[in-house]
Amino acid sequence: MKIVLSAVIMFFFILSLTGAQSNPLQGEMFTDPFIISEMDQEWLERDIKYNTWAKDADIAVSLDQHFYHFFLPFIDKFEKDNNLKIAVEKGTCGISGGLLARKEIDIGGFCCSPGATDRLPQLRFHTVGATSLTILVHPDNPVNNITFEEAQRIFQGKITNWSQLAGSEGKPEPEEDIKVVTRLHCKLRPGHWRLLLDREDLFGPWLYEVGSIPEVIEQVANNRWAVGGFESIYMAYYQYPQKNAPKALTIDGYSPVNRQHLVSGKYPLHFIFNITTWEGKGLENPKAKELADYLLQNVKHIEEKYNIIPAAELMEAGWKFKGSELVGAPE
């Protein structure tokens, strides 16, 4: 009886954590934290072994490009204060995932919530914080706000001309075709652009898909009628600054730069930053654990320009956590 009851409670807990979306086009925000990738025995018995780039290091870290810049100063300080050698690789979620899967690093940094294939045995995810994802337009574009539905229809290719938008302040929007640009990264991970449209098949046929962040920003900065998604404020304005800095649209009146709008979940698009640590013999590195704790404790000191909402603030606002990993949106 107890087992049945537990199973029922677990089912509802998982259901609430995975945060089923009300909008059928939207993808999941999180994956099930209880589902772990199956790995073979050889993998399970393998210890962490650094690759040549981290040879002789005390800690090997791979960080996604989104938070490499704001974490690096803290890592440098930790390295100096503790007289350690820390090898840091700047990469992507895929690279972090690959290095973790090959057991070549102690800490992996992801800009997205972990996908099913990222959840490896004995690997723990710790949420750093969240940042908003923007829908960018050229600075000369008169459009400042769109509805969430309009955003979906634009990226679906159902709205192809700016004049098809409702318009703001009673003025019609320009009679210009929309050029939709995006980077469909991390297709197997939940959240990010999938919060708008779950699958790449939902995007319209005229989508101009590019392979890198600067390409998205450049395309929007150089094309007056382009709309680009979905990059962070830091990337759009600091990491790849443009002469014609793109303008971030508000969605349903909620701004990507307003912390409250993001914390309350009213601004709908965001990245969830996570780092990982290992648990278990042959995997655990106490120094790496200390570093991870140090980084998580210092999230609140990250410069404002990175537009990071620390995990603690999200927890306070009602976001759901499993341990230190964010696994569900607020009610």
Binding site: N51, G91, G94, G98, C186, L188, E209, G211
Partner: protein, 615 residues
Amino acid sequence: MNDKDFTSNRGLFFFLRRIPITIKTVLLTVTVGCSAWIGLDYLESESIRKSLNTHFMAMLKKDAKESQSVFFSYINMHTGVIKIIISHPAINDYIGEISKSQWFENDNRQIIYHADIPIWLPNPSILRHFFYINYALLVDDEGNVREVYHGRRNKNLPESILRPTQRLIDLSRGQGHMALFGDTPYLIRSEYIVKSKGEKRASLMLVSPVDHNFFKASQEQIAHKVLSALVESGTGKIVSSSDPELLPPGAALDTYKERFLITGKSFFDYGASELQMKFVTFIPNEEYKKLSGSILSKERSNRALGDVVLIFSFIIVMVLVTRNVKKLNNRVMSFSRKLGIAREDVVRGDEIVMLDKQFQYMFKEIESTTMELKRYSGHLEELVRERTSEIMEANEKVTASLQEKELLLSEIHHRVKNNLQIISSLLRLQSRFIKDRDIDIKTILDDCRSRIRSMALIHEKLYMANDFANIDLNDYIKSVSDELLRSYNVATDKITLNMEVEKIYFTIDTAIPLGLILNELITNSIKYAFPKDKNGIITIQLHRAGNERFRLRYRDNGIGIPDDVELEKPKTLGIHLIKTFLKQLNGEWTLRSNDGMEVIADFKGVKTNESHCEA
């Protein structure tokens, strides 16, 4: 300055001084010109190289970006292709009938290889519109690879691909997944082949080794072919490239920096690769070097020509300048010789050095002379100070003495005047006691008194004026006349006195005789010229009449001169006195009647310095 400076004959400076300035200037100009050319050549070459490099890099970045973009599109194309294939009836029909196929007859699950296009793939007429499929794998629902299409390639796929884990299938589903198998990166793209109810029946895997053929195929659409490679970012080593001979796998990226312009580094930041790899393009810099070499060579020859022209122009200017320096040097030497200060032992050669040395010597001479002059001047000033002090002291003494003497003289004049006044008063008193019958005596006494009075007046004037050497004759004559008129009780309206006397100052030696002469003449006129009922006019004129000569013209409009007057043998004291006084003044005179009496007397007067007196 040491004399050795002028004549030192040792060392490099001596050697340089021996070379004439023209030769030195030419040598210097050529040296500086050549050095400047070399320096400028280096700087400009660097600048041009940098500028060209920037320009090239911008162009190449564009190409690299295009190459990278095409590479990415090519990877992405796998998504489209696999989706078309799994939706094609051929594969679905094949999988639908799989129970009849040889898969399940093959208990040991040996893989079936196809070199020709199998029936589960679309027809060649469709496939050739896609990219060239390297390997297509059909995987059963248990994850076993059952069939492999390898086409032109060999069958040797890595074991990890032929025995894929569920994780590999998952990672390559929905996205192109790049991973390293052995030393070769592979791009894997998987999709489930599902039954109508969503039941997974099998999977299709498209597998492409990311080798030079992959690169070649990906870049076919680009006109400007560039070498490209995947580089492992951790080690900086090439994993695979578009040209394995030029860029062999395992070679370090850094070794190509000399031969290639390397650009276009980028992450596969759409997160589908688990490899730390960057897509890098290599542009051989031969063309860049050739072009920059050609531009630099042309620039260099132009600059050389410009420099030669500049050097020659400068040499001409310098020759003209140095010629004038030589002239100046000769003039200075000549001038120095005239002054006797030329240093003939100055080392010959550089004219400016010679000039400098000669000037230094001249300065030294001038300095020494100046010092001597200053010394003399100081001595002279000392002497002048001493002498001035002495003179001032003497002057003070003289002034004091003079003041004393002036005081004394004033006193003397005062006393003389007083004495004369007393004598005059005595004579007056005496005259009062003379009875009327002795009128002549009384007259004599009065005359004497007036004469004494005239003399006293002189002394009075002298001490009153505080000037004991000069007597203002105008003032004196007026005083004498007024005194006489008063003395003889002449009514003011009876005799009118007209005076035309120049501003002349006489010494006492001249003034007293002159005063007495006028005393005699005025007394005579008062006493005799005008009868009681007749008014008269006396005119006195005194003017300069040549060098130290003066003329006195005395005239009255009285009754004239009696006929018996003889000037040679005068019977009256008055005439006698006039003659006597005139004699003292080296003068001569005439007396005549001219509507009255007229006396003209020329005399030599001792006149004082008028300007002094006037002052």
